[in-house]
Symmetry: C2
Subunit: 644 residues, 2 copies
């Protein structure tokens, strides 16, 4: 290995405010809690077995493999999250825990670099034989991301060396050369990880390996078809229902699908790698493919909460406009994948719609995945829940009516942890000629911009208040461009520099460029007024017909039974109703809530069908941010409110 | 066997009109067609194997059992249908076919009376060992019904003797006595059949055996629990999901469940037997249980089309008010079961609501199960279909977007056939002091009423026209009561006898009693005005919120893509819109269609979400009777129309 370059993690401090609270929760509660969960020490939670599996594989204890074939990845994601925490908040105990588990992982790794406790402990002679189902390459990808994060956070090479050895093995084993396996991952992830590894190590061949995986995917003759035949698997699992290899995006080449298809997390991780590769290699066809899928993802396949993947079976994308609310799958990990993809699209082009989508999904769908106490999680994030029905109907059996401490398939909790532990990646981009702010939240950003040390102090109560004060503090006066995102949801933004209004006509694709010589103490004041907005869906979204969603700033709201009583479907919001927004410190952890004079439809009698319309009575409606739902016990929830 | 009494089948001739057309279709097309299907001679249809299985069991040919474990019952239901046809329309070829297959069945029957080709050919040493899954008693029940029908239609005892031998064996094997199996059927049916057999043979012990099965059902300790343990079946199939023995109505005693629960066909057949037993034995607790479940069935569990059983998994009833339209299971057989149950409730008490429900389900849900050409069938009858979605989403995989020629599990087609071949059972009841008319349709009824031969000539274009002329024609002037159903859907009925208006205040529980000495040629004129009615659901039916269904007379309507274009959800019917009804001879086989000036919501642009409401454009809406949908190719369909 060449001497790796430690690309410092972005330096952002989150001290107060909505996202800072979540970041702190992840640091102080979630990461320690998940370490306990991975060690099977959380009473009442489903067993993880993850650390156990590595200890067994390392020869540190006797035992058998426990859990699903991709269990290893939970540990990798947790390590990544823990490293981000360590980068900003040194902690000897955590560092020692990491050193300990990394030593175990290194011991578990086989001499040739192979690392997958499921295969090692259950089918050691069947490495790489079942790419379409097993997750060897997916797990490798997560360990590579962890190894990079560990190196960048601590400067230590212990895990980085493990994952370089693993990556080198992958480069030897997979390809179109003599004696190589010309397959590719059943679950994409290693592709984006190899690019990260290349950026740290300077090893271009890791990019080339990622490019191989992406370019080979779906090539004819289909690798999986041959593999399934070899394995005697004429009948595929039910999640391949109707779709066969499109479930894992291998029915066609990656440039040939216009819509996001198949398993939604796989689809997003693939798109991340495609966007990264487009950037690394300048491959215009990959970039065009990303743009096409992005367009269709946004125009046809995204819930108003930013969630994606509307079908349970196969955790998949469905048809255009097929976005049922009570049967939404809307996996937390798929939302995280969209955030990753959007962030990478921003690296390709500074376009407000990428940041808008990233913000929508992060603040609504992803945050909903975790309780306010950081100890329980949603895997599935429907937009409408009627608990009795969700518990009773098999076609909603995957909908949990309350967050749970852990899952047998626990991909989501550590994925949420690593995402919220690395918010610093999402606030801004450093560019050749300046810096761009994407996500507004109270924080301090430090960066080297155009050769100068720059500090940006962002003071705001966003997302509850649209006023944002950015104090620019370069070490010395410096000429650079500060690019400020003008959120797509805001119809009347204003920007002042040192008290003087700026003409927004200069804004391009959703960002306002402010090019000047910046002095320490320069102040940019942004104001993004946040009236409550009614959002309506395209009329082909049959499950939102006649309804409105409420949004204020970037936050999407919902009705909860705790505030509105049961039978939320019988509530209506008149088109003329005044919507009042007010911050309530005591409400769902402190949030702006929305109230309005609405109405409730009540049956005149017990008849199931009647010529009479239900009677209408006044009812005060109260909506809370969707991401904060289900923090007050089990109850109904509904995002799309009927309008009258 | 004592000398059986041939209770003549009710004598009703259907010559013209809506139901007569269906009855003729069943006689001329469906019954011959299904005989071909049962003999595996319909190209392109799923293989039945049913006749084949009997031929193999009878030693007439070599081969193996084909199909599902309840395949035998398809033949029994077809024989029953064919016998009803033979009773009114003698046909030497059909009679010979029946004699032939009955001879085969008799040969297949084992010396001790046992008859079930699945068990005989696949597990002959495991008779009666798996009552909760196998269908030995269910099949026995259908053969008993067939045997009774064959005897009543032809006077021949060939099949009756087979089924008496089978029934006698069942009486020996099942009970609480020494050496008997104290179990009961996994799928109810034999109970109601045994009562039919008792009525023909005069053998009270068949009633007692039915009573044993009903009373033992769900008794503690639970028979199935012990059976499943004996079979090593700790884990039950997914359709027992959450419910365990309630799936087959054996979680509690039959008098203890207030709501219809579990598999809907099983539930209905059980209720039929309970109502029959209440009548035969005067068991007040059984009658009360029927009344309670009836009430809740109507108030919470019935679709506006009269369909029941809203969940695919286990073909079950769901929670109260849980009536999704696009995921409705609404099995044709379950609707038939409701018709059977309602008819038996009418035997317990002449109450209009029983006839109303019977009519609603028969004319809408059951008739929808068969195409206008009598050759294709629906098993599942949703109230809303979007074909692309139904083909794509696994949670709607059971929804067929067009009727099919046959099913691997083909319970519905022969069940529809035997029901429509026996419409004579549903038109009227003969009572001690008169006759009651339930179903209005053009026909001639002959009956012995209060000792006199009576002919009733019913002339009407019902269900398209509410005017009904009943010419009373007793052989000699006779004093009896003619009870006329006043349909629940009609708000302003009028009745005249020989031109003189009758005061309807005398009507009781939905029937108007006309007691007088009737002379040949007396004429009763009924007028049930049929304005188009808007029907609204109880506001807890979340899937019908904001919508109306259109009904005219007993017919429920739907929008079809063939008339209204795609995206039926985007259509709205203003509350003020005039609804016009008109008979169109060329339309869907000749039917009254409804038109109105409505509107279509169209998106202003391609955005998935927007602050703007969709634009509204005028659109002419056209609705056709639900039972006639899908006779013009595949397309969207929707019963519940959005109101504006």
């Amino acid at each position: 290995m060449a001497t790796p370059t430690c690309n410092a993690l972005p330096k952002v401090r989150f001290e107060r405010g909505f996202l800072a609270d979540r970041a702190r929760l992840v640091r102080d509660v979630v990461i320690p809690y998940q370490w306990e969960a991975l060690n099977d020490r959380v009473p009442g939670a489903e067993r993880s077995g993850t650390v156990h599996n590595f200890q067994v594989a390392a020869g540190e204890k006797a035992g058998e493999f426990y859990g699903l074939w991709f269990q290893d990845s939970d540990l990798a994601k947790w390590i990544e999250a823990a490293c981000y925490r360590l980068a900003t908040h040194p902690d000897a105990k955590l560092e020692a825990d990491l050193d300990g588990i990394i030593a175990t992982i290194a011991k578990a790794q086989q001499p040739d670099g192979y690392l997958d406790t499921y295969v090692q402990l259950t089918a050691p002679d069947q490495r790489w034989t079942n790419l379409f189902e097993w997750h060897e390459l997916y797990i490798a990808g997560h360990f590579i991301e962890a190894g990079v994060a560990h190196f960048e956070a601590t400067g230590k090479r212990t895990l980085l060396e493990v994952v370089c050895k693993l990556a080198d093995m992958i480069c030897r084993v997979f390809g179109l050369g003599e004696g190589q396996i010309n397959g590719y991952p059943g679950h994409q992830e290693v592709e984006l990880a190899l690019i990260k590894l290349a950026r740290v190590t300077g090893e271009l061949r890791y990019v080339q390996q990622a490019a191989y995986f992406i370019n080979q995917r779906g090539a004819e003759p289909n690798y999986y078809e041959a593999e399934a035949k070899r394995l005697g698997r004429a009948k595929l699992p039910v999640y391949f229902y109707l779709h066969r290899w499109t479930y894992l995006q291998a029915g066609k080449g990656v440039r040939e699908e216009a819509d996001p298809i198949g398993h939604s997390v796989r689809a997003m991780y693939q798109l991340c790698a495609m966007a990264d590769l487009a950037r690394e290699t300048g491959d215009a066809s990959l970039r065009a493919a990303c743009e096409t899928v992005w367009r269709n993802l946004c125009d046809y396949h995204t819930y108003v909460t930013g969630a994606i993947g509307s079908e349970w079976n196969g955790e998949q994308f469905s048809l255009r406009y097929d976005l049922p609310n009570d049967r939404a799958y809307a996996e937390s990990c798929a939302g995280i994948g969209l955030v990753f993809f959007a962030r990478r699209m921003l690296d390709l082009e500074l376009r407000g719609e990428f940041a808008d989508a990233m913000e929508r999904t992060l603040l609504n769908n992803v945050l909903a995945g975790m309780a306010l106490d950081g100890k329980t999680f949603f895997y599935v994030n429907p937009l409408e829940v009627r608990p009795a029905e969700a518990k009773r109907r098999f076609d909603q059996h995957y909908v949990k009516t309350s967050r749970v401490p852990w899952f047998g398939c626990a991909c989501c909790p550590p994925n949420i942890a690593r995402t919220l532990a690395s918010l610093a990646y999402y606030t801004h981009s450093v560019q050749a000629d300046g810096v761009a702010l994407h996500l507004y939240t109270d924080c301090t950003v430090e960066a080297d911009v155009a050769g100068a040390k720059l500090k940006l102090a962002v003071a705001t109560d966003y997302p509850w208040d649209g006023r944002v004060k950015v104090t620019v503090d370069p070490a010395v006066a410096a000429k650079f461009t500060l690019r400020l995102r003008l959120p797509g949801w805001c119809t009347s933004p204003t920007v002042k520099v040192n008290g003087t209004s700026v003409d927004l006509a200069a804004a391009q694709t959703g960002y306002l460029p402010l090019a000047r010589e910046w002095q320490a103490g320069d102040v940019v004041e942004l104001d993004f007024p946040m009236p409550v907005q009614r959002v309506r869906a395209h009329p082909q979204v049959v499950h939102a017909l006649g309804c409105t969603a409420l949004q204020r700033g970037p936050m999407v709201y919902c009705l909860e039974e705790a505030d509105n009583g049961a039978h939320l479907g019988s509530l209506r919001l008149p088109r003329s109703a005044q919507l009042t927004a007010k911050f309530e410190a005591e409400q769902v952890g402190g949030a702006v809530v929305i109230t309005a004079d609405g109405e409730r439809q009540e049956a005149a009698d017990s008849a199931l069908y009647s010529a009479a319309e239900p009677a209408v009575k006044p009812a005060r409606l109260k909506a809370v941010p969707y991401c904060l739902w289900n923090n007050r016990g089990e109850g109904e929830m509904r995002v799309w409110i009927r309008e009258s």
